[in-house]
């Protein structure tokens, strides 16, 4: 009975008792084939939590698995880190920003034994959690705001997907639902009547932007469609199943049991995808959008407000233009021929307009292309797709074939849509349930795939996602290659633990927040990272057994956000249009194609969190790029963490760090008054979440005398290792 309760909720209850018989029909192998398969291609079951000697170190089940492995090597967990360390670790990990001095004080003085777990709960409820963790999903989803390639055209509605991800994570949307929305958001509604037309909710339309985020260049007919659908297939597999099927596009996978035929069987689920033709003015480079209303609470009102704001810029320019035209025609000698308005306005001898009018005109003129693009972004649209409506309206279900060597014009064997045989054990076609009247034969294909992926019976989906979460919390996945569970992965360091987490995840109704909570509440997570037992270092140099916490460098986004947060200038506004923070030097002019692209937001708007920065495929923002953030071209399972002199130059000499240092200095004066020691203490508390030592105070005293000196102090703190490395 226990097993059935955790089984896929979508299977009608009446059929549950026959599940053992039906399981092969659902696309999962039965027990007999199951036994022949190696990890991770069978479903995790019956994992018992191990008994350990050091039982008093256990906070939850995770620790039992970890300690057991450690004990087998005569090792044990490191002591718990200090509360001071833990609060900084937890803040960065869950919301991507440091705690304020007040939050630190409160936590350290809180004698409640549950203070830590209460803090965890609070942070998981904090909406900044979504802003932090969405970035990790956007890396996987190869999110960008432009299409890449020649001209790098803008994708004006992509940002709505970014907001969808933030919102979904904050609402702790069930992960199985999150998967289904992104793969088959248009196929949710059951069609039961003969006259019904397929519809989808706005949120689910936005979710499917996922399938359209690949870089894209001008269409070339069948070849482009082949490439697009192949990309959807391989990205879907890497992201949700942790299997790289991409190589099987051209040849049987060299390392894993993924024959070429399986790639095309999986691709066949996507073969009724219908992408809208481009809208007028979009050129031939990007497909068109689908209508999708603003659906979050207050979003419609927000969009209206922004729209008015941009329209008023446009309106003001129109008014000024017609006003100038009147003045010009009244004052220009018609014999001189046609005079161009811009030339007339900018003629310094022109006394018919004031200096202020001229400046305003030029300013507006510069803003308008960008404003127009923003107005486009504010249309209730999504860069989504849907299934074809089939004959007689649109293409029906095409014959799917293996394409030999992956070439679009080299068709081979005919295939039916079907699931990966390394999981199912056979290459039978998948059962695709159409509407009762079979009016929409092109429908339900992707939903069949989505349900199979988002099923409790699927051996990979939950394991892969738990491994991703684990990797983010602990610095390294249980499987070190989070998007590749195949033979090249090197296998899991803690197979039973990962299996147990996967089972638990499904049992917790696919709640990510519950699993975060479990992980960060463990004793394993709360270990110290600073001092390492030499014995442990010798026996487990890479710390794959986790006898200590892994110190980590912050990601690029968290570094930029922290600088702004400490200077007191981070704009906390959530969601909305992409932002365009100032770029150093003449970069914006050097790597852009037209004025509708990167138009710097010098004010508050440009100081929102980094997740909102415009992701232009031909222009990675240098500051973020230096710290290993690239605008995604394809799915990125994990970031690098490099150390380069260019990082030092950016953080020390760069405009951004220096501008914020000035504001940080002002903040220190305001909050700490005139006493130099107090200033240093306050600055440390804000930037590094701790009090300085006597030695550090002594070192920094020369930089605390006045506000100008404090700019140096701020700059120094931003450049300390401690600012970017979390214990």
């Amino acid at each position: 009975m226990r097993k059935w309760r955790t089984t896929n909720q979508l299977i009608p209850k009446a059929t549950l008792i026959f599940l053992g018989v039906l399981s092969p029909l659902l696309g999962f192998a039965d027990k007999s084939t199951e036994e022949k398969k190696r990890w991770p291609f069978f479903k995790p079951e019956n994992i018992s939590v191990p008994k350990v000697k050091d039982a008093d170190k256990i906070t939850n089940e995770i620790d039992s698995f970890i300690i057991q492995k450690l004990e087998s090597k005569d090792l044990t967990l490191s002591p718990q880190a200090s509360k001071q360390t833990l609060i900084r670790r937890l803040y960065f990990d869950l919301i991507g920003l440091p705690p304020t001095p007040e939050q630190i004080e409160f936590f350290i003085n809180d004698q409640d034994p549950n203070a830590y777990s209460t803090l965890v709960d609070d942070l998981l409820k904090d909406p900044r959690y979504g802003e932090r963790w969405a970035r990790f999903w956007l890396d996987l989803a190869r999110y960008a705001d432009t299409a890449g390639y020649e001209g790098d055209p803008d994708m004006p509605y992509a940002w709505r997907y970014r907001d969808y991800v933030i919102d979904s994570l904050n609402r702790d949307k069930r992960y199985d639902l999150f998967i289904k929305e992104q793969l088959a958001g248009d196929e949710f509604t059951e069609i039961m009547g003969a006259g019904e037309i397929p519809i989808a909710s706005a949120e689910k339309i936005v979710a499917m932007t996922f399938l359209r985020l690949a870089p894209f260049t001008e269409p070339r007919g069948d070849e482009t469609r082949h490439e697009l659908l192949s990309e959807m297939t391989s990205t879907t597999s890497s992201v949700f199943l942790g299997l790289t099927v991409g190589c099987a596009k051209c040849h049987d996978h060299k390392y894993d049991q993924i024959p070429t035929k399986d790639f095309y069987r999986m691709k066949a689920f996507f073969n009724t995808v219908q992408i809208m033709p481009p809208e007028r003015g979009d050129g031939f480079q990007i497909g068109g959008p689908l209508p999708a209303d603003f659906y979050r609470k207050g979003e419609k009102e927000w969009a209206n407000k922004r729209r008015q704001e941009f329209e008023s810029i446009q309106g003001e320019l129109n008014k000024l233009t017609s006003e100038f035209k009147t003045r010009m025609t009244n004052n220009v000698n018609p014999d001189k021929g046609k005079v161009e308005l811009d030339g007339w306005v900018n003629n310094r001898n022109n006394d018919k307009i004031t200096e202020a009018e001229r400046d305003r005109y030029n300013e507006l003129k510069k803003k308008v292309p960008h404003t127009k693009q923003h107005l486009k972004r504010l249309r209730p649209m999504a860069m989504s797709l849907r299934h074809s409506f089939g004959p007689p309206y649109e293409p029906g279900v095409p014959t799917s074939r293996v394409m030999i060597r992956g070439e679009y014009d080299n068709p081979g064997e005919v295939v039916e849509a079907g699931f990966l045989s390394c999981i199912t054990g056979d290459q039978e076609p998948a059962k695709i349930r159409l509407d009762p009247f079979k009016r929409w034969p092109t429908r339900s294909r992707r939903m069949a795939l989505a349900k199979w992926i988002a099923s409790a019976e699927n051996p990979l989906t939950a394991r892969v996602m738990m491994n991703r979460l684990w990797g983010r919390h602990f610095g390294r996945g249980i499987v070190a290659t989070p998007s590749d569970f195949g033979k090249l992965s090197g296998g899991p360091s803690h197979q039973d633990l990962l299996d147990w987490l996967a089972i638990r995840f499904v049992k917790e109704n696919w709640s990510l927040k519950k699993m975060h909570r479990l992980m960060v509440n463990s004793s394993t997570y709360k270990q110290d990272s600073k001092r390492i037992d030499p014995n442990a270092l010798a026996k487990d140099p890479n710390n794959s057994l986790l006898s200590r916490f892994n110190r980590r460098r912050l990601e690029a986004e968290a570094i930029r956000d922290s600088v702004l947060f400490t200077s007191g200038r981070l704009n906390p506004d959530m969601f909305g249009l992409p932002i365009f923070p100032p770029l150093p030097g003449d970069i914006a002019d050097r790597v852009k194609y037209d004025n509708s692209k990167w138009a710097t937001d010098p004010g508050k708007e440009g100081r929102k969190r980094s997740i909102y920065i415009y992701q232009q495929r031909t222009l990675s923002m240098p500051f973020l790029q230096t710290f290993d953030a690239l605008v995604c071209e394809d799915t990125i399972p994990r970031r690098q963490s490099s150390v380069t002199p260019l990082q030092a130059l950016a953080m020390y000499n760069g405009n951004f760090a220096n501008e914020e240092s000035e504001y940080f200095a002002k903040r220190i004066v305001k909050e700490a008054g005139n006493d130099p020691t107090k200033r240093i203490k306050r600055a440390f508390y804000i930037a590094l979440s701790r009090q300085p030592s006597e030695e550090e105070i002594k070192e920094l005293l020369p930089y605390a005398a006045n506000e100008e000196k404090l700019v140096g102090l701020s700059r120094i703190l931003y450049n300390t290792t401690e600012f970017t490395y979390v214990d």
């Binding site: 870089p215 014009d409 394809d634 130059l649």
Partner: protein, 487 residues
């Protein structure tokens, strides 16, 4: 205070800690190195000089990239037959399969080259009158004709030639060479990009991206004005002494931080990265300061002429980079859209006169200058574009100023320097310059990449990196070295 002195001298300390990079700091590299098949031991410093797989003379590579698709039959492929067919269709459809359709409409009239061709040097190399200066260097060059690229749009084919894959996300050639060989001068980036002063190439910065390789291998854009590398100037209002003082405080705080922790190689690496950054502040501006170049050198590169000054400066900087031990320089001529691109869909004659006029003297100057300094021996020069062009006109009518379409079947490139066999040729095109001649498989871009790596002393099959479940390499399925080009 530190519990134990790290090293005796600051120099020792720097050396030791810089070499310590990667032991933990670049854990990405390390993990991947352990998992995948790479040459030698896992690298400590990602840019530390590495041994070649086998001896080759070239230590540096300068890649000259002409954006837009250079017309091969107006530059280096003499096709008298095409001149005869001017205004007529190509007879029959020579060896055409389905793949040669789309943009290539054989119904269109042929355009013979309007330029005179002559043979130059002892090698008797045919060149058009557009390259009079390069013609004097003809015996230094080795040509490749009829190269096949995977796509005939600018975006994908630019990716293909510069990264080995027509899809975005792969490391550029320079990143691979950095990854394989490291760099000699640790005070300078090892991979430098000098783009056309008029703007960016197609795909922008992705042309010199590190792709899935670690960030340490990305190309660094050398700007032609102001600070040559981003963020090289001290914060305004600070003197050098004041900055040094702040760097010392940072260092001392970082050492205090490090002293309280174990497993410190990454933290050490960070401390030495700051010292390197400090040195880079003086080393890098010196490169772009060409005021010490005598007037005959400026003349050699065409700096005294407005037409050639732009690319001339790029070429002169490339020589200075070679002198300073920079491993790989990418020079881009042309911007992605408009009249500054070699993409001559209309008026190929006018376009070719303009573009070639901008690069001929500077490139010849670079060859002469490197040669007279004895640097050509240790420098591989590669001249490339992203595709060739069609023998026939771009539109349905011939018109007065015909242009040419894209042609992914007939890219022409040349190489010089290092172990390149001067005067040699690989591949050929048919009598129309439409596609590769002969019955064999045409030369593919991956074969050229394989040859470039070979000339830098590496086997393409041994320069690998594990990414996303696959062992990746520049040449994907492996290229065929063009041995006829190698001395």
């Amino acid at each position: 205070m530190l519990t134990e002195p790290l090293c005796q001298t600051r120099r020792d300390f720097l050396h030791r800690s810089w070499n310590g990079i990667g032991a933990l700091g670049l854990s990405g590299i390390l993990a991947d190195d352990l998992l995948g098949k790479t040459i030698g031991q896992p690298k400590t410093n990602p840019l530390e000089p590495q041994k070649q797989h086998f001896p080759r003379k070239a230590k540096h590579c300068i890649f000259l990239f002409m954006q837009g698709g250079v017309s091969q039959m107006d530059s280096f492929e003499n096709k008298p037959r095409l001149r005869e067919l001017h205004g007529k269709q190509i007879p029959g459809t020579p060896g055409v399969s389905g793949e040669l359709q789309g943009r290539l409409s054989f119904a269109h009239s042929c355009v013979g080259s309007p330029f005179k061709f002559a043979q130059h040097g002892e090698s008797g190399r045919w060149m058009s009158e557009l390259f009079p200066d390069l013609a004097t260097q003809a015996d230094k060059l080795a040509f490749i004709h009829g190269i096949k690229t995977d796509n005939q749009n600018h975006g994908p084919s630019t990716y293909h030639v510069t990264t080995g894959s027509q899809f975005p996300g792969s490391p550029s050639v320079g990143s691979w060479i950095q990854y394989g060989l490291g760099t000699e001068n640790q005070s300078m980036p090892g991979y430098v990009v000098i783009q056309d002063p008029r703007g960016a190439p197609c795909n922008g910065a992705a042309v010199w991206a590190n792709g899935y390789l670690p960030a340490a291998y990305q190309g660094t854009l050398l700007r032609d004005q102001g600070s040559p590398i981003l963020n090289l100037n001290r914060p305004h209002s600070l003197t050098e002494a004041e900055q040094r003082q702040e760097f010392d405080v940072i260092k001392s705080l970082n050492e205090l931080h490090l002293a309280k922790r174990s497993n410190i190689s990454e933290l050490e690496a960070r401390i030495s990265a700051y010292e390197l950054a400090f040195r880079m502040q003086t080393a890098a501006p010196e490169i772009v300061d060409i005021s010490d170049e005598p007037s005959h050198i400026r003349e050699l590169y065409g700096l005294d002429n407005e037409k050639t000054a732009g690319f001339g400066r790029q070429c002169l900087l490339a020589r200075r980079l070679v002198e300073r031990g920079v491993r790989y320089s990418l020079l881009v001529h042309g911007v992605q859209i408009g009249s500054h691109s070699w993409d001559d869909h209309g008026n190929v004659k006018g376009g070719m006169i303009k573009h070639s006029g901008e690069v001929d003297k500077p490139i010849a100057g670079l060859l002469k200058d490197l040669s007279q300094r004895g640097l050509l021996e240790e420098t591989l020069i590669v001249w490339a574009s992203e595709m060739g062009r069609t023998p026939f006109v771009n539109s349905s009518k011939l018109g007065n100023n015909p242009g040419r379409e894209h042609n992914s079947y007939a890219l022409c490139m040349w190489m010089a320097g290092g172990n390149v066999k001067a005067g040699s040729t690989a591949g050929s095109t048919d009598e129309y310059s439409l596609r590769s001649a002969g019955n064999g498989e045409p030369i593919h871009v991956r074969d050229v990449h394989s040859t470039i790596l070979n000339l830098m002393g590496m086997h393409d099959t041994d320069l690998t990196y594990q990414h996303a479940g696959r062992i990746r390499k520049l040449t994907d399925i492996g290229g065929k070295v063009l041995n006829e080009l190698i001395a």
